[in-house]
């Protein structure tokens, strides 16, 4: 579903159209869930996705439709993930949950059979900013411009983060033929 259609659904939902609200959620929930799995933790992605929609639908009144609704929603998801990480860092960690370190993705409690463990580990090992830029542009499919809007940073920052994420992934996944430059 394209951005214009998703934005139209959000505007109809803002006017109280519950069917449109349902379609808006259905059209975007997979991407929201997936983004949260990468930004926070796959084990809490569902809970955080629900929180994202609660915030989004609660503040639909203030959405004016001049930014793509998908980017608007993903920026809320991003903030929900950041809030979650902040909460988790502040609070003593439950025994079952791994302590937050520089690899917030950790081990995936929910197995993703289709996404190879190697790729998932390599993504999880990325610097958080690079991972975010890579996930938004490559897995969610946002343009650099929309990703910059979601992250509230300049387009050039997205551009260099994506390139560095790619370089890190090339190193981590040890693609055959990867050539190291000395220098």
């Amino acid at each position: 579903m394209d951005d214009a259609r998703i934005t139209a659904l959000a505007l109809r939902a803002r006017e109280g159209d519950r069917t449109a609200a349902g379609e808006f959620v259905a059209a975007t929930q997979h991407q929201v869930w997936r983004l949260l799995g990468h930004l926070a933790d796959p084990g809490v992605a569902e809970e955080l996705a629900q929180e994202t929609y609660e915030r989004a639908l609660g503040s639909l009144r203030r959405y004016r439709g001049d930014a793509p609704a998908r980017s608007w929603l993903l920026s809320i998801a991003r903030r929900v993930a950041a809030d979650h990480l902040r909460r988790r860092a502040r609070r003593p960690v439950a025994p079952a949950e791994p302590a937050e370190d520089d690899r917030p993705l950790g081990r995936a409690p929910q197995p993703d059979p289709a996404e190879s463990a190697a790729v998932r580990d390599a993504l999880a090992a990325l610097d958080a900013d690079r991972r975010e830029a890579f996930v938004l542009t490559q897995l969610i499919g946002l343009s650099y411009e929309d990703a910059a809007a979601v992250c509230r940073c300049p387009i050039g920052t997205i551009r260099s983060r994506v390139a560095r994420a790619r370089a890190d992934l090339v190193d981590a996944l040890g693609e055959p033929g990867a050539q190291r430059r000395s220098g």
Partner: protein, 261 residues
């Protein structure tokens, strides 16, 4: 690759030296995403023609991107019923529609009261001279004024129900009018200067005022909060303009917290 060490590279225009590989690779990455400009692509091609390492890197980068993308996660929770059912904004919106309909009905009732008062004043005025003149107005004229006010308030309610975004500005006037009227009605009622039926008619005003408050609370306000679109339009456009400017630009004014709670 060793390009993440952050060595300065912003001043290289051509892509001749080994550190230009970093510049090239960022442009290659952008090109893979269809985000590189034509002039930049030409410079990249020129560099790639003479740099086997970057040609290999492009192949690898393409491959890892494909691997990451094709690992499509199927499934995920279905949140539609959970979140749409609980959304307060949508419930509030439904109440808003109900409140607007009620406000329109109160407005019509109030307008009818005003018209009835006008007709009553007209028939009363036909009976000849006013026995009482107060502050320069006869009873008939006072009744005309009262009827005009009632009619105007009815029209205001109906208009507020239709153009609800302008209703908020009306509420202080209505509130003051109703507060003063309530006090005076109470005093007059105790003193026996007014019939209870006429005071009861004022309840339509109170109902309209409360419904108006409900409409104001549930109406999307275009002026509330900063517009996300303002940020959208003011975004810096260094994309394509300065492909070699790799360092993050200084944070700009639009990078503030969103209006979303």
């Amino acid at each position: 690759m060793t390009g993440n060490s952050g060595r300065p590279r912003g001043d290289q225009q051509g892509m001749a030296g080994s550190s230009d590989c970093d510049v090239c690779r960022e442009a290659v990455s952008a090109a893979l995403d269809g985000e590189a400009g034509a002039a930049e692509s030409a410079r990249v091609d020129a560099h790639l023609a003479g740099c086997a390492a970057c040609r290999a890197w492009r192949r690898d980068a393409e491959a890892v991107t494909r691997r990451a993308r094709t690992g499509v996660v199927v499934g995920g929770p279905d949140l539609v019923d959970r979140v749409v059912g609980a959304a307060p904004g949508l419930r509030a919106r439904w109440w808003g529609v109900t409140a607007r309909a009620g406000l329109a009905a109160a407005g019509l009732a109030q307008a009818v009261l005003g018209l009835v008062g006008l007709l009553g004043a007209a028939t009363h005025a036909g009976h000849g001279d006013d026995p009482l003149v107060l502050l320069g107005a006869g009873m008939a004229h006072a009744a005309h004024e009262s009827a005009a006010w009632n009619l105007a308030l009815g029209v205001a309610f109906v208009a507020g129900a239709i153009w609800s975004r302008h209703l908020a500005g009306l509420m202080p006037v209505l509130g003051a009018f109703i507060a003063v009227l309530a006090v005076l009605s109470g005093v007059d009622l105790v003193a026996g200067r007014v019939e209870p039926a006429r005071v009861a008619a004022h309840l339509v005003l109170v109902a309209g005022f409360l419904l108006g408050l409900a409409v104001v609370r549930t109406t999307p306000r275009p002026g509330a909060g900063p517009s996300p679109g303002a940020r959208w339009r003011s975004r810096p456009t260094e994309h394509g303009a300065a492909p070699e400017g790799l360092r993050a630009a200084a944070p700009t004014g639009w990078e503030r917290e969103s209006d979303v709670a």
